[in-house]
């Protein structure tokens, strides 16, 4: 007899123009002592199911049919049941530890408040219980940190506090909604280990909602794959990942970048005929052919950047070294990867190379010219044309008030003011074709596109100036895996045909392995190691690289 039973659950959102079915006839059962992974892309309804269990569906959404049975209690039958069970029998862990704790209360106050809401304990008893819990989730010196405020903890520690809050009333069901998405890999593995340990020790039923197949492979006993509100496939994790039956699961698994080998292209199953390699791009006619000379296009020498948070005294002690004496070079036509956790300074380096920031010290040479010392605007324009960038967030990188045509034409007109209207239109349509969008896209506004399509528009805009260097700052981390695979394929194709040099920045090691020829590993603003991709993954030299490789969630771990 399973502990949690979701029967035929449907959740509707009655919108102005249509009804959105966020979940359709979902049937899921979870046993005690088991972790069920709920996996799917954004909008697949995985969080909706999680929220429906504790009746946290926001207006205008409502549970239109089905039932949720916890033990033998029907949660949706009586609103009072939910109040009784929420927090007490069911614990919740949210995605972002920065916002799921109240910043003006100490963690002790928050724990005691939660405990006293549900259990009849005195303040002292509640305190004792809280300290034990904090110890259990691995917070050192729990009794002295009891009176600290959330901002005094790091992200990973905060997520531990959130877990202790979820556990404080001895719940039997734990719902973890993307518990590690906001965390770095090293902390991610600690949190996942903690969840696994607690599941065993406390005999919990756990629903782990995530988009990350690696996380699923390493933690979940069983997995349910969701798409458009439906559960496509459910079963033992190993079977689903190694031998998926449904086409959607197959495409999802094949889109995940493998961590143990380099593949030339991702296999895309779902999209028919659209993903043929485009071998004769029309924009090639406009591209000034460059001979492939394997010499350094970019040289970064002793680059440093410090940020002062003090307005009145420059160069004060408070300055933070975001980048500290970093040197590397990128050869013409290669893909160079920069890997590091958040705060390692990788984006800062990218912004200095594209000249958004001025370095505090050191220099950047592009094509043997020191671009950090250029003062004149006209001189700078020559380099602006050759260095372009693709950003992480496709929602903020396009101006929502301009049509795609205007977005793409801006760089063309700026660098070639005498271009005729016909020529401009032809160029725009070539660019749009090269990023595999339909010609109609040109007259639409960005909000009419999905994240992946917006990223394609970004790429088209970056290509408009015919750059030699393309800086990609986490270009796929905001995207779903299947979209990520398409964008990565596109970037590879474009690079091959246009002989682009790519600086690829990511926190995601498997992605970097697929994309890059050489990789530099960054930690706290310093470069630990630079080597060829295969060498780095097979024979890491620096201990930090070894640690990173060891900790990254591997979808292949399921085979062992």
């Amino acid at each position: 007899m399973s502990f949690l039973k979701i029967k035929n659950l449907s959740v509707d959102y009655q919108m102005r123009k249509e009804t959105v079915y966020a979940a359709k006839n979902v049937n899921i059962e979870v046993n005690k002592g088991e972790i069920l992974g709920l996996v799917g892309e954004s909008g697949s309804g995985k969080s909706t199911v999680g929220n429906a269990i504790i009746n946290l569906i926001d207006e205008p959404g409502k549970v239109s049919s089905g039932s949720v049975l916890l033990g033998d209690l029907n949660i949706h039958e009586d609103p009072k049941n939910i109040v009784k069970y929420r927090g007490k029998k069911v614990g919740l862990i949210f995605q972002d530890p920065q916002t799921s704790l109240n910043p003006i209360l100490t963690i002790g106050e928050q724990l005691i408040e939660t405990i006293q809401t549900h259990l009849e304990l005195t303040k002292e008893e509640a305190k004792e219980r809280s300290i034990n819990l904090l110890n259990e989730v691995g917070i050192k010196d729990a009794s002295s940190r009891f009176d600290n405020y959330p901002h005094q903890f790091s992200g990973g520690m905060r997520q531990r506090v959130v877990i202790s809050l979820a556990l404080c009333c001895e719940p039997e069901l734990l719902i973890a909604d993307e518990p590690t998405t906001a965390l770095d890999v090293s902390i991610q593995s600690q949190i996942l280990d903690l969840i696994k340990k607690l599941t065993k020790e406390r005999n919990l039923a756990v629903i782990l909602i995530t988009h990350d197949m690696g996380v699923i492979a390493e933690t979940a006993n069983r997995v349910a794959v969701m798409k458009n509100g439906n559960v496509v496939e459910i079963g033992i994790t190993k079977e689903i990942l190694t031998n998926p039956k449904e086409a959607y699961t197959k495409s999802l698994v094949s889109s995940v970048p493998p961590t143990n080998k380099k593949i030339s292209r991702f296999i895309i199953i779902e999209k028919e005929n659209n993903d043929k390699k485009n071998n004769n791009l029309k924009i090639l006619n406009r591209w000034t052919k460059k001979e492939i000379i394997k010499q350094d296009l970019v040289q970064v020498k002793n680059l440093s950047k410090s940020f002062d948070d003090n307005f009145f005294t420059e160069n004060s002690k408070n300055s933070v070294m975001a980048v500290n004496k970093v040197s590397f070079e990128i050869k013409e036509g290669e893909s160079f990867g920069l890997v590091g956790e958040s705060g390692s300074g990788k984006s800062t380096i990218a912004k200095m190379i594209v000249n958004l920031f001025k370095p505090s010290a050191g220099s950047i040479f592009f094509d043997n010219v020191c671009i950090t010392k250029i003062k004149q605007n006209s001189e700078m324009m020559k380099f602006r044309k050759q260095i372009q960038m693709i950003f992480q967030d496709p929602y903020s990188s396009l101006n929502g008030r301009l049509k795609v045509r205007d977005i793409v034409s801006e760089p063309i007109k700026l660098h070639n003011p005498s271009i005729s209207n016909n020529d401009l239109n032809a160029y725009i349509s070539d660019l749009i074709e090269s990023v595999e969008l339909t010609q109609k896209s040109a007259d639409r506004y960005p909000h009419e596109f999905s994240g992946g399509q917006r990223q394609r528009i970004s790429i088209a805009r970056a290509l408009a100036t015919q750059p030699r260097l393309l800086v990609c700052d986490e270009p796929t981390s905001a995207l779903d895996v299947s979209i990520q695979a398409q964008i990565l394929n596109l970037l590879k194709d474009l690079q091959e045909q246009l002989n682009l040099t790519i600086l690829f920045i990511s926190h995601d090691l498997p992605v970097v392995r697929q994309m890059c020829d050489r990789i530099g590993v960054l930690k706290d603003g310093q470069l630990c190691e630079v080597s060829n991709t295969e060498d780095l993954f097979l024979k890491p030299k620096h201990h930090y690289t070894k640690e990173l490789l060891h900790l990254m969630p591997k979808i292949e771990s399921i085979y062992n």
Partner: protein
């Protein structure tokens, strides 16, 4: 409003703004009232039989006629007449035209000044931003009516007596405009700070787009929403400020009365029983300002995605 929705009528009909407009009786009623007021004020010559500014139409015989529904009322003067026999309704409509012109001009003047300074301050930052923002702080410590009185006083000193009546309306626009810009500067600076850190601005910088183009082509359309909201509420404030100044006697001259001037003129007769001379302009002003404020409130609720959730 939303650039997208203004392109075609069907886009407007499809937009969320139109949808929420249809669902809000407050917005519909207040915008209808405003439309009627605007129409009547600007086409006042076509709809009123009297021109109160034409001395030949004055008839002291008919002075102090009470509203038509009272015992002594005359049906040709619906809201009665003032001390010089001018029809109240016509006078109010003529007056509200002046009030609206002054209000709109003042708000446009302070929008240009405030948004210009706020946008550049937020975009460039540094010492320039410090200077502009401290300037707004200083000005915010001076009540805006005092500021306007000060400007008016200086203008009186500079402009000769004959010129003064002619120039009065421009002085008034300048005085109100100069006293309202700090809030626009603050809001547009804050919005600019948010927008300039978005990637589309970085992308334009990397492409090589000049600062001026980035500010006005890219950032400005994206910060228009909050500015539009406070601009609408500012319009009500400007109209009230105009009336206050005219009431105090430093606004438009009595020869071309605005709503404030009418209230002041009528105020003298309030205690002798001729209440309608001050009451109707006052109530008209209240309805006008109230409608604008309600519309502004609705706009704030609709255009602010945070409140929408």
């Amino acid at each position: 409003m939303d650039n997208n929705t203004l392109t075609t009528w069907s886009r407007i009909k499809d937009s969320d703004i139109y949808f929420s407009y249809k669902k809000s009786p407050t917005a519909i009623i207040s915008s209808l009232i405003l439309l009627i007021i605007f129409f009547c004020s600007f086409f006042v010559e076509l709809i009123t039989p009297y021109n109160p500014f034409d001395p030949s139409s004055l008839s002291l015989m008919e002075a102090f006629t009470p509203p038509s529904w009272t015992d002594d009322g005359l049906s040709k003067f619906i809201l009665g007449t003032d001390g010089q026999g001018r029809d109240m309704l016509s006078t109010i409509l003529y007056g509200s035209r002046i009030s609206l012109i002054v209000g709109f001009s003042a708000i446009i003047f302070s929008l240009i000044l405030g948004v210009g300074l706020g946008l550049t301050a937020g975009y460039f930052g540094g010492k320039y931003e410090m200077f502009v923002m401290r300037l707004t702080d200083v000005q915010l410590t001076v009540p805006s009516i005092l500021m306007a009185l000060l400007v008016d006083g200086i203008a009186r000193g500079l402009i000769s007596r004959e010129m003064h009546d002619e120039m009065a309306i421009y002085v008034l626009i300048f005085a109100i405009g100069i006293s309202e810009w700090p809030q626009f500067a603050r809001v547009s600076r804050a919005a600019t700070l948010v927008e300039k850190n978005k990637d589309y601005v970085s992308a334009s910088t990397i492409i090589g787009v000049s600062n001026l183009v980035i500010m006005f082509k890219h950032i400005l359309p994206n910060i228009l929403r909050p500015i539009l909201v406070i601009g609408t509420i500012g319009l009500a404030l400007a109209i009230i400020a105009e009336s206050t100044l005219s009431f105090l006697g430093v606004g438009v001259p009595p020869t071309t009365p605005s709503l404030g001037t009418l209230i002041r003129l009528g105020n003298d007769f309030l205690f002798s029983g001729e209440w309608w001379i001050t009451f109707f302009p006052a109530i008209f002003l209240v309805i006008l300002a109230f409608s604008i404020n309600l519309l502004g409130d609705w706009m704030r609720d609709t255009l602010n995605p945070k409140l929408n959730k």
